[in-house]
């Protein structure tokens, strides 16, 4: 059930907010009134604060708790649709205080010999990559394919990842330590700065993918990997889906250790591209690429291309140009059925559905263009959910225009059925009993 704000957007006119504003200003010098540039799909926050330390962030959250303010953490703002775009997920219904992490962008520690980096949550991943690449003989990296402008905290909170999830996993798998501020202003840490560590519950896992609904992430520690000396993309085009699906499965199960096995298709019924990324040493990658070409060639019947350059269709991290972006996850053995379902739904509703993603790791992204009517996009999502297994996969609307989000309501909402939604709700209630952290954005809200 959507909650609408009733107080006027942007102007701290309510006495409540005027008092809260003074208290916030006392807690931190970096508090200002929200403006149009801070709006989240039309909801303008009353205040924006840019703390420079965890302690300052904690002081702000304590004030916010005292005044029952709805708090929305913000990294680069890309997933909040800052600058007039569409938010990912369900946008927050209220935002009294946006905590911008822009002032917390310091790389605190890069222990190259330990392959570990500790950063403030507002650190841009591109800036961090620059620091890490200069380390040691080979250089190091956080092995995630994320936009350079994204912040470390934002990457963790949204848990999104790109092609190399096949080999390296998602942010939660590379996160070894985290500092958070709870809704009531309590500062807490878990994990640490060693990779091997089983002391205590791993709060990092919980905050990865929490979309700002459990608390504010202020520091993260990543495990690093050495930068590969060489890369090769082995790609082939298939006219029939079963052959493409076979190639995906064979590549992913090969002992050639692919970093990514991607699939792409520009139009329903069109040819399918399969691409494999290999990373390693110069000589090693060359030899592996030759063997991988054999895997993709279907006994020599399909031409295969090997290149050090990223193919034009290579998906990268999922992104949207304003249309509806749907994540379909599955067991790789069901890939052919997934593609057939997407095709059939697209044909019956007469929409162009482009497909791309880490098929070898069990996830593809379907994008419907901006012009598709909201009810059609909703029905499309509903058809996928009806046809595909809920036990072994899911259909999640990652980002969609407001009208599509509303239309999705009768087709299972943004997430569809989420296992253990009751436990998720219990976790949310423990961390944020007042329901003030990014209200309405809780990932399983509709479930």
């Amino acid at each position: 059930m959507p909650i609408s704000r009733t107080r006027p957007a942007g102007s701290p006119s309510s006495p409540d907010l005027a008092v809260a504003g003074k208290a916030l200003a006392a807690a931190s010098p970096a508090v200002r009134e929200g403006g149009a540039a801070d709006a989240i799909e039309g909801v303008t926050p009353a205040f924006v604060a840019s703390p420079t330390s965890t302690e300052e962030a904690a002081a702000l959250l304590r004030v916010a708790a005292g005044h029952s303010l709805a708090v929305v953490p913000r990294g680069s703002g890309s997933r909040l649709g800052s600058g007039g775009g569409v938010a990912w997920g369900t946008p927050p219904a209220r935002a009294d205080l946006v905590v911008s992490m822009a002032g917390m962008d310091t790389v605190l520690e890069h222990a190259a010999g330990d392959l570990v980096a500790r950063v403030q949550a507002g650190t841009r991943m591109g800036d961090l990559a620059g620091v890490l690449a200069a380390a040691g003989q080979a250089g190091q990296e956080v092995a995630l394919d994320v936009p350079a402008a994204s912040t470390a905290g934002g990457v963790v909170a949204s848990a999104l990842t790109g092609p190399r999830r096949l080999r390296y996993g998602s942010p939660r798998d590379l996160l070894i330590g985290i500092t958070i501020v709870r809704a009531d202003g309590t500062v807490a840490h878990s994990g640490g700065k060693v990779v091997k560590n089983v002391a205590g519950y791993d709060l990092g896992k919980l905050f990865a993918g929490s979309w700002g609904t459990l608390g504010l992430i202020t520091e993260v520690t990543f495990r690093l990997h050495p930068l590969p000396g060489a890369r090769a993309y082995v790609t082939a085009s298939y006219s029939d889906a079963p052959a493409a699906c076979g190639a995906v499965a064979a590549a992913a199960a090969s002992p050639l250790v692919p970093s990514a096995v991607e699939l792409g298709r520009a139009a329903p019924g069109g040819p399918l591209q399969v691409g494999v990324l290999l990373e390693g040493s110069d000589s090693g990658v060359a030899a592996r690429a030759a063997l991988m070409a054999g895997v993709l060639s279907s006994a020599g019947t399909i031409p295969v291309d090997v290149s050090a350059e990223t193919p034009g269709w290579w998906p990268g991290a999922p992104a949207t140009a304003g249309g509806t972006l749907i994540q379909v996850s599955f067991w790789v053995s069901a890939l052919a059925a997934v593609l057939a379902t997407i095709d059939s739904a697209a044909r019956s509703l007469d929409v162009t559905a482009t497909v791309s993603g880490a098929a070898g790791a069990g996830v593809v992204y379907v994008e419907l263009p901006l012009g598709v009517p909201a009810d059609v996009a909703g029905r499309f999502t509903g058809e996928l959910r009806r046809a595909l297994s809920h036990e072994r996969g899911g259909v999640v609307m990652l980002a969609a225009p407001a009208a599509v989000r509303a239309a999705a309501g009768e087709h299972g909402g943004m997430t569809g059925p989420v296992p253990s939604a009751r436990l998720m709700r219990a976790v949310k209630d423990q961390f944020d009993p007042g329901g003030r952290m990014s209200p309405g954005r809780f990932p399983a809200e509709g479930a």
């Binding site: 222990a111 091997k196 199960a253 090693g284 599955f330 053995s333 069901a334």
Partner: protein, 494 residues
Amino acid sequence: MTVDQTATATAAAALRARMTAISGAANVITDPLELRTYECDGLTSHRATPALVVLPGTAEEVADIVRTCAGHGVPFVARGSGTGLSGGAVPHSEGVLIVLSRMRRILEIDPVARRAVLEPGVTNLSVTGAAGPFGMFYAPDPSSQVICSVGGNVAENSGGAHCLKHGFTVHHVTGLEIVTPDGELTWLGDGTGVTSGYDLLGAFTGSEGTLGIVTKIVVKLTPVPETVHLVLAAYETLADGGRAVSDIIGAGIVPAAIEMMDALSIEAAEASVACGYPTGAGAVLLVELDGPAAEVEAELATVRDLCEKAGAREIRAADDPAQRAGIWKGRKAAFAAVGRLSPAYIVQDGVVPRTALGDVLARISALSAESGIRVANVFHAGDGNLHPLVLYNDASPAETEAAEVLSGQILDTCIEYGGSITGEHGVGLDKSRYMPKMFTAEDLDTMQLVRCAFDPASLCNPGKVFPTPRLCGEVPGHHRGPHPAVAAGQAEIF
């Protein structure tokens, strides 16, 4: 018999009757002698006899048992193979011990999806056995993998010698069917590895049996590496070996495993299993490389070169399984072998940043000399996971105490260098008292919010991990009051 005792006895009899109805008389143990079989896990210094042991055969039976316990306010503890080393499966003396060893079926192998579906009592190594015909294996390999259960691995987030490259249990589990502490069967994750909503699967893995009981497990299967090479390098000192480790990592190589043993461990292993390690070495380094042949050959040359440059007095390499097993034999026998040097010993498990290994080992050596207690060092050098073996004579109370003090000082040192009090054995009962040294009161309080969400009544493996239980307050239910914003007149719902 007092009224209280009568009431307790009546309750116990009722519980026994109910458990018998659920799992059958043959699978319920109440005989005091038999109960004692279950009084400890792999760490024998903590013991408690449970009120009752039940061995369920299905997930539904587990749910029924837990519901019964929850209904009666009786604590319960899950146990797999009982190989844990932190007392995590020590029973509650007034509670039910739920032993999952009868639930040991491999339910499905899907080689295309690279997944296996397992019951919790399946042993770790048997998953690799079942995946072998498909050219795959199950990567986490704790040293007890012949007998330890996958359910126990999930509880402990088990690692193993090869987790440096291949990751821990949490990186290989993609779905769990669990019984919640109030007796509901539910799934965390769906096997895909793609999460929607909170990553409860990730938070549950490694929670040491305190958030629920696992009844089905979906794991990733990994393609068997094309080539495996093992290099043994012998050094005069641990410092020399440590330099080789740093240089290998610095060169951008991530071996599958890097293990190191000190002189005392080498000597003990030699005496015990005649592993034929270079005699008189101050340190032996084992480096295992796995992967595509084309990569491993190049890495092998680099590793040999770096090992030599660090001052190795001898280098051996093996690529066939029998030769590798021969070299691993000494390392794998080390704990037991060192144990024979002494009437009693403590296996410690601490972690330090890899670059601090040299300093920390020197500190341990100084502490050992100061106290007169011998310490043998066997460790996973690649990830800074130390397993110092503290040797003492348990017939001497003074020596026993000195050994315990030294063991604690080693953990203090790990914390001081930014490490952890446990890398793979878990906190359990044994190390909960060290948790406040590594975490603040707020950290521990926050972690226990998760506990409160799953187990507000604190019946599921109580008394483990956290030194002080958190009161969970009012248990939030499904039907809540009006949204706080609505109540405050700040918003309306339509």
